[in-house]
């Protein structure tokens, strides 16, 4: 379903103008998403979705509101403009509301792979079948997904902003299961050829074999080796707080902590839309170009994100991290890169006298918003390390762990890699060796 974004957006501006409104923004996104899902060593859910969404925001006398539709015929476009204008007129004015963004230059990124956009159901099924065979031949049962998506996104406004971005994304995730144990592996990439489903299947199967007949250990403080997916899903929970609006609201743990050392000196974190392992657009929800930020330098909080309104209030320049307006949240980092080190999971294991190796974490929820304590479970590959070797699988633990304490106790980092989990968006993060991680309970498996 080819869509002429420029023509659609031109219709939006003309319709708004005919209704007496000159300040209007249109976001058009089209996506073609397909996912092959497997379980019990067979494909069981296999889906595809083709969709478009046109979202229109009007601004009238300090008021703003948004209306959206997935119909793109001229009548529907006029209707959605009319709706946006109607609800904008009924909303309350905001004296801090800014005129829409001005045009800007965007440093280009290339995250489109035509072969990935063209992957067929049969190609996905063949890769899945091969992965299943690898797990099945180990006497185990496989479940997982292989997805390929192609998304195009354009944002324009009546002040001249024209921002366009397109991206392909492939994801492969697999869980291998046997009686009493399981293992997991996942990868994502803009080009599906950068993912090796068979390698991921073999890795998951190895973990399942290694964690057979898991032992039950008591809860308590342990040295842990968090593989990158575990680091991602836990550390990744805090980045919404690196937001000027969140700090003004009093909901950020960075209130009264900017400029202070809150993590260990070996923790440095950037927000970098141009990192070669990153994905996503080089501009924000208002069309402001993203800036590369140093969020944390050697454990000290240095920079936070500002949308245009928060930046105007603070008297600084916006960082290009605002969400589409109107919204209550303001802004947040979108392209996290946690700097790595020169260790590796293998070296961390070899250096650990007694500890726990964690493949992934699950159902992570915030316990305390200011101390940044999170709870959650280990899952799909939790191991006892003794004398520098993995010696057994262990039953899964519940943790209650403060992130400031955790990131102050990091003893080694691997190089950072693009990592995909299930609890937050993809980031570039290392594996970490951490002392005194707080496991508070043990479950039954």
């Amino acid at each position: 379903m080819p869509v002429d974004a420029a023509a659609v957006q031109d219709q939006v501006v003309r319709a708004a103008h005919a209704m007496g409104v000159d300040e209007v923004e249109a976001i058009l996104s089209t996506s073609n998403q397909a996912l092959t899902r497997f379980a019990n060593n067979a494909i069981h859910q296999n889906v595809a979705e083709l969709s478009s969404i046109l979202s229109v925001r009007a601004r009238i006398d300090g008021r703003t509101a948004r209306a959206s539709t997935n119909r793109l015929d001229p009548h529907a476009i006029r209707d959605v403009v009319e709706q946006a204008i109607a609800i904008t007129r009924l909303t309350e004015p905001d004296e801090e509301s800014l005129p829409m963004a001005e045009p800007a230059e965007y440093r280009a990124v290339d995250r489109w792979s035509e072969p990935t956009a063209q992957v067929t159901p049969h190609e996905r099924a063949r890769a899945v079948a091969e992965a299943i065979r690898a797990v099945e031949s180990a006497g185990q049962t496989a479940a997982g997904i292989y997805s390929t998506d192609a998304t195009e996104y354009t944002l324009m406004n009546s002040r001249g902003v024209r921002a366009g971005y397109r991206e392909t994304m492939a994801r492969f995730s697999i869980t291998a299961m046997a009686d009493g144990s399981s293992g997991w592996a996942k990868a994502s990439a803009c080009d599906h050829r950068d993912i090796n489903p068979l390698d991921l299947a073999l890795s998951a199967a190895r973990k399942t074999t290694q964690s057979a007949a898991p032992r039950e250990l008591p809860a308590g403080r342990y040295t842990v080796i968090l593989e990158p997916a575990a680091v991602l899903d836990l550390a990744g929970q805090m980045f919404g707080d690196f937001s000027a609006t969140a700090i003004t609201d009093g909901r950020s743990f960075l209130n009264d902590r900017i400029g202070k050392q809150i993590f260990g000196a070996n923790i440095t974190i950037h927000d970098d839309a141009w990192h070669p392992l990153q994905s996503g657009a080089p501009f924000d929800g208002e069309g402001v170009p993203r800036k590369r930020l140093t969020l944390v330098e050697n454990g000290v909080v240095r920079e936070i994100t500002y949308c245009r309104q928060a930046a105007a209030k603070a008297g600084v320049a916006p960082t290009g991290h605002g969400f589409p307006l109107p919204n209550e949240y303001g802004e947040a980092p979108a392209n996290i890169v946690i700097a790595g080190g020169d260790s590796s999971v293998e070296k961390m294991i070899a250096s650990t006298e007694r500890g726990i190796l964690v493949t992934r974490l699950w159902y992570i929820r915030e316990v305390d918003p200011y101390e940044k304590i999170f709870t959650g479970m280990t899952r799909d590959g939790t191991f006892l390390v003794e004398g520098g070797q993995v010696t057994a699988g262990v039953r899964n633990f519940r943790f209650n762990q403060g992130l400031m304490e955790m990131l102050s106790n990091v003893e080694a980092l691997s190089p950072a890699v693009r990592t995909s989990g299930e609890e937050t968006f993809d980031m570039v993060v290392p594996a970490m060796l951490i002392r005194d991680f707080n496991f508070t309970e043990v479950t039954r498996f």
């Binding site: 969709s51 509101a65 009924l90 049969h122 909901r251 992570i364």
Partner: protein, 484 residues
């Protein structure tokens, strides 16, 4: 929409299928929020599309499109069949469906006041009045209030010959007050956290919630929590309010009884279940007073899981899940019912809009009212009473859970003796329900809506209903979230 559905069904059946169903859906949505005296997110959206599910070559295929032109629908139909054919590359056995009757029906959910006839400025005026009450004390750094309305019309047709036209209207509203001071964040919400209460109702729900009258107490409690004592760590009797108990039901009963999880089809993402098939009619899930049903019928109440037919054309039903403490039933689909010896699905297949295929989802999974008075529930010598969820987490087989709440009270002889902050409790699902000692009666029972239940890949978000009344549990581990 009927024409669109039939056109899509015709296109797909011409391709040669064992079975097919089509859902043409038209959704309308409005969200209005306020924050610290200003309008926040004010938006409306509409979405139309068609989802085509086929069973061909023994495999499922599904394709969805928002391009409802003849060409677009035919392309989606062809793609659904191509996807099913691709599934044969990794097939163990042909999918077989439990038989189902053919239905022709039109159903519209009860809705006294159409929320879309209420202008946005009236929505904002109501929320801003709440906001003003919340911010009377400058200690409240963040006041947020919201309303959310949806209307979804779905026309379902299938090769069995069913033609089912359903329209569901849901409404939701709530607010919260957050206080940051002295290196601590405390928050209170009404009538529930994470958006408030959601039901299958029209604007009458907003009137019933009487939001503004509760705002002063909620703001006062958010501030008072800063000077409250920390919830102690130890083993205590626990009294849980009905909204928190609704979420406890959702996590420790609702998800484990999804038969697709039990059979392994969610293993890679949502996980599996401790309720293996050998547990059916054998497991003591709860104490003798625990009775739980899964009930999508209108008679159960205006829940987010109330409908006339599920998304594979099976009528709404009530299933006993726990009867006098014994585990008696799962939630099933046409594909899975036979695995537990049932001849027919109990109607729990639901999809998140036109672009997603149906999965087994909770409808209304509710704890039936008990026979105790509120005085009997609260009448323990010593207990901790917790209100309003703050955090929730459970393992991927649904054994070990931990919940945090916004506020708690130490109770002695049925009286509140002190406020407690940062309360949490944890345990093992079956041990918790077997510790249930008292359940308040029908007059204290509320059907809560959980609007954001996630499951499936690609992820689907579903609204579920959970009826509960305040209940007491013996010897529960409390305070573990801050232990160590």
């Amino acid at each position: 929409m009927k024409d669109l559905s039939l056109r899509a069904l015709d296109a797909v059946t011409r391709g040669g299928v064992t079975y097919a169903d089509v859902r043409a859906i038209d959704t309308r949505d409005r969200e209005v929020t306020t924050k610290n005296g200003k309008a926040g997110h004010v938006s409306s959206s509409e979405s139309q599309g068609v989802g085509i599910r086929v069973l061909a070559f023994g495999c499922w295929g599904f394709a969805a499109t928002s391009d409802v032109s003849r060409q677009g629908v035919e392309a989606a139909a062809a793609l659904a069949i191509e996807i099913a054919r691709a599934g044969t590359l990794a097939k163990k056995h042909d999918v077989v469906l439990a038989p189902e009757e053919k239905y022709e029906a039109t159903w519209v959910s009860p809705c006294a006041i159409d929320p879309f006839t209420i202008p946005v400025d009236r929505n904002l005026a109501t929320l801003l009045a709440v906001d003003a009450e919340l911010r009377r004390d400058a200690a409240i750094s963040l006041a947020e209030a919201s309303m959310h309305f949806t209307r979804e019309r779905q026309v379902f047709v299938s090769t069995i010959g069913s033609l089912i036209d359903q329209t569901r209207t849901t409404s939701g509203a709530g607010f919260s007050a957050l206080c940051y001071k002295d290196g601590e964040i405390q928050k209170r919400s009404y009538p529930n956290s994470f958006g408030g209460q959601f039901q299958l109702k029209g604007y009458e729900l907003i009137d019933e919630l009487d939001l503004a009258s509760h705002a002063p107490r909620i703001a006062e409690e958010a501030i008072a929590l800063h000077s409250a004592d920390q919830c102690p760590e130890g083993t205590f009797d626990l009294i849980v309010d009905s909204s928190q108990l609704g979420l406890q039901i959702h996590e420790s009963i609702g998800h484990p009884i999804e038969l697709d999880r039990v059979l392994g089809t969610e293993a890679n993402y949502a996980g599996m279940s401790f309720l293996t098939l050998d547990q059916l009619r054998r497991l003591r899930y709860g104490s003798d007073i625990v009775n739980v049903v899964c009930d999508a019928r209108v008679e159960h109440g205006p829940g987010l899981g109330t409908f006339a037919f599920d998304d594979e054309g099976v009528p709404a039903q009530q299933t006993d899940i726990i009867r006098a403490g014994e585990f008696t039933g799962y939630m099933t689909s046409r594909e899975t019912a036979a695995a537990v010896g049932e001849a027919r699905s109990n109607g729990c297949m639901r999809a998140d809009g036109w672009a997603r295929l149906p999965l087994i989802r909770m409808t209304n999974v509710s704890l039936k009212p008990g026979e105790q008075s509120l005085d009997e529930v609260f009448g323990a010598d010593h207990a901790i009473y917790m209100q309003t969820n703050r955090s929730w987490s459970i393992d991927d087989k649904r054994y070990n859970f931990q919940f945090g709440c916004e506020i708690a009270w130490e109770m002695r002889g049925g009286k509140r003796v002190r406020m407690l902050k940062n309360p949490s409790y944890s345990g093992i699902s079956t041990e918790f329900w077997n510790a249930c000692a008292a359940i308040a009666g029908r007059e204290h029972w509320t059907l809560w809506g959980v609007p954001n239940c996630g499951k499936g890949q690609p992820e689907q978000v579903m609204g579920t209903g959970h009826g509960a009344s305040p209940s007491r549990f013996r010897n529960i581990k409390i305070g573990g979230a801050y232990a160590g």
